[in-house]
Symmetry: C2
DNA sequence: TTTATATTTCGATAATACTCGAAACATGGA
DNA sequence: TCCATGTTTCGAGTATTATCGAAATATAAA
């Protein structure tokens, strides 16, 4: 994951409403939720909801699938996984900032670590 | 970490310039970097740099300490750790989206998991 | 005390993002 | 076909954020 895309994902989650939407979709599981259900749960005007869903969609954190008359949105777990991998690989000095448990290899195989994350600071 | 503060941290990192600043500070280690060095490395006008440093400071992701005539900024690893813990605790369905390695308890003791993260989906 | 350097604050401008009513666009049922 | 419902797009208004020159502040050296 390159830093532009990481910044875009972070920005997408960096808005209280969108973060709430994303959390709701995560909780809903792979099935996801109808757009309407999300709006109802969070008390959002349809246009506002659509705006934020589109934003999250555009950066790849969620996806929508049409099902009869409804559109179900669901969280894209792998996108979130990549984002977390980016943060641990690029934003943790020797992983010193990580919860101990997370102190190990990441899915991204620590692609070209930028100097940090040599791994020796794991407890 | 409550979601407002999480959203604020995410938004702070959700800007290419600030993300680059933060990464540079992480790479620099606990010593950090003089503000000027950051600006030089990234080619930022002093006022612009100051604006972004203040933003990152305000949300607690970095801190500055005066040292003689300079101000050294350094990344706050624990703040980053809390952010990552928030994401893994609140934005990962049963941690299915996590890099395998990170599939375990987090520092935050999974405070009141919101329904996700029962842990059974760990590989 | 004067001068030089480092950084921030101020102020103005430009750009971007957010909200939401109203209208348009599906899709499926009557 | 017509109607009802769910969702998006449009358009306009408002608010927030980003950029950066210039001025102000702080610290230290001459």
């Amino acid at each position: 994951m390159e830093t532009l895309s990481a910044a875009e994902s972070l920005a997408a989650l960096g808005h209280e409403t969108r973060l709430a939407i994303f959390r709701a979709l995560v909780q809903a599981g792979p099935e996801g939720l109808k757009a309407g259900a999300v709006g109802e749960a969070l008390g959002l005007a349809p246009a506002t909801l659509s705006f934020h869903l589109a934003h999250l969609s555009r950066v790849g954190l969620i996806r929508g699938r049409q099902e009869s008359r409804f559109i179900f949105y669901s969280a894209d777990y792998s996108a979130m996984g990549e984002l977390i991998a980016f943060l641990t690989d690029n934003c943790c000095q020797g992983k010193a900032c990580l919860p101990v448990s997370a102190c190990a290899e990441t899915t991204e195989k620590s692609s070209a670590p930028t100097g940090a994350c040599e791994g020796e600071s794991c407890v």
